[in-house]
Amino acid sequence: MLKLVAIVSALFLQSALAAPAKKHKIVEEPKVANHLTGSVDFHAVGSPGFLHIDGSGATAAGETWKAKDGTVTGHFVADLTGFKTGIGLRDKHMHEKYLESNKWKDAFFDLDSWTPTEKPSQFGGKLRIKEMSKQVFGTASWDGKTLRADFEIELDDFPIEVPRHLGITVAKTVTVEIKMAEANGS
């Protein structure tokens, strides 16, 4: 009988102790993860014909730091060598002639102070491709698990020749999309 009372008491005590912790988790402010990993895609348009060129497969990793006022800054690195567009010759030209990813493997992005929001909000930062850095602006959102961001770059702003191939010219404006999540173990 004493043993039964002890077990019931222990269970009750455990529940009583656990309840406040659960309650605390509910009211906890969403936080920006310190370490993020994910992917980078881009979308470009070639003319004539308005052919859609979608690049994917590039991996990205980064760190963010949260300030007391809730804003975050960050530093991200994208491995450009993973980009593929679904057409072999185009990929070859992209890496060898335009991105020169064998020479400039990574692109870097420094996030300016940004307040994470669940709905897309404006952000800014400095993007470095090859040896050139340029301020870019876009929209980003953080739902507590996933960071999504997109922005446009002008190829003219970076040492990237406008891609041309047999009469098709790629538009100078390229849309970049980033999707990242909290890295395991962070």
Partner: protein, 397 residues
């Protein structure tokens, strides 16, 4: 406006025809060298157009690949001279052909390197042969009589095509070849194309108006079933506007039946039916195309919706539904066609089709491009109790 007016000056000799697009000359406009050049250009353009009209003859289907939407090609314009797709390839299209083949080393799309690479001319052509064609009726338990008649290999098409580029924005295109089991010699597709930039084109001559999914399978319910298969060309003029988000194509058709065989015993005659019009509006979204189209012909009006959808880089869906209203008989009928394709390895695509035209028809087949310029396709289709099968070998130049 004055610019349009003075162009008419030297065309008054053919006033009954040019009145379609030229206003009365403005007597108040001072004559100048530029005006004379413009007059000459307009006159040359007109006579070239007339020449093409005279040479035009029916009988074609497009040889484009709407399934290439899975590779980002929502529009045909990147690869083909004709913005609506089909036939002669641009240099980029030859390169893209290498990416559609199982084995396509760089340069192989240019006729293995022999295709001329000039800025003022493009050459092309198609040779197609039907390898087999049988029809088996499971209800009767025997091959059909029509099948025994057709059960042989025959040349469906052997044609050449030449496109000339005399100025920055003008293209002249014409085909000449043999068609069908009787090897009729025909000049079947020809047009003058004006491409002043990336966003606008105008075309006049003989061609298939832009309508729905321009699939190369001319036996599809939405092509042959609507009179858009082999022989679907009409005498027409087309204007089109395209952008990154979509396209609008408007076509005025002047004659739906032109009989002009070159050297054929049927002789030469040119006559037109009642004029009509066609229109296609499409939006490019989600790497796919969604649109509606309509075509008012002398006796019927066809209208419907279509989509070319890129599911993944390797899987696509093409679909079209149409209603054909016969205004003479006051009779409506519906046709539908859908194709799902899966490129299992580069160049080899497994396809399944579902069609509706006076009953359902289902099919299974494959399409293989082993090398650029070579294509083999085969399919089995079932409609009610009847199974049919066919294979086609296609060589494009």
């Amino acid at each position: 406006m004055s610019e349009i007016r003075f162009k008419a000056k030297k065309l008054t000799l053919v006033r009954p025809i040019t009145a379609l697009y030229c206003d009365e000359p403005d007597q108040d406009q001072p004559s100048s060298r530029i005006e004379e050049l413009a007059d000459t250009f307009c006159a040359v353009l007109f006579w070239v157009f007339l020449l093409f009209v005279i040479l035009a003859r029916c009988g074609s289907d497009a040889k484009a690949f709407p399934s290439a939407v899975r590779m980002g090609y929502t529009s045909c314009e990147a690869c083909h001279l004709d913005p609506n797709g089909g036939n002669v390839l641009l240099p980029y299209g030859r390169s893209a052909g290498e990416e559609m083949a199982t084995w396509g080393p760089e340069g192989s799309g240019r006729l293995l390197g022999f295709a001329p690479d000039t800025k003022w001319a493009l050459a092309g052509g198609d040779i197609r042969a039907a390898a087999t064609n049988w029809v088996y009726d499971t209800d009767l338990g025997q091959m059909s009589a029509q099948s025994r008649q057709n059960d042989k290999a025959f040349l469906m098409q052997a044609e050449g095509e030449l496109a000339l580029h005399p100025s920055m924005s003008i293209w002249l295109d014409a085909t000449l070849g043999y068609y069908g089991p009787d090897h009729d010699r025909e000049l079947r597709r020809s047009f003058v194309l004006w491409k002043p930039g990336n966003y606008f084109t105008a075309k006049a001559g003989r061609f298939v108006p832009a309508y729905g999914v321009m699939t190369p399978d001319h036996t599809a319910a939405t092509r042959e079933g609507l009179g858009l298969g082999e022989g679907g060309e009409v005498l027409a003029a087309e204007v089109a506007a395209r952008s990154e988000i979509g396209e609008i194509v408007a076509t005025e058709t002047f004659a739906t039946d032109v009989d002009l065989n070159v050297g054929a015993h049927s002789g030469y005659s040119l006559y037109g039916g009642d004029p009509g019009w066609a229109a296609r509006i499409a939006a490019y979204a989600f790497k796919s195309t969604f649109g509606v189209s309509a075509w008012r012909r002398p006796s019927d009006t066809v209208a419907g919706a279509f989509a070319t959808v890129a599911v993944t880089r390797w899987i696509y869906v093409l679909a079209e539904v149409d209603r054909d209203r016969d205004r003479v008989l006051e009779y409506d009928r519906d046709v539908a066609w859908a194709e799902v394709g899966w490129e299992v390895v580069q160049g080899l695509t497994l396809q399944t089709t579902a069609e509706y035209e006076d009953g359902g028809r289902y099919g299974l087949g494959f399409d293989w491009i082993p090398f650029p310029h070579f294509q083999v396709s085969s399919w089995v289709k079932k409609k009610a109790d009847v199974w049919s099968a066919a294979g086609v070998a296609h060589v494009w130049l």
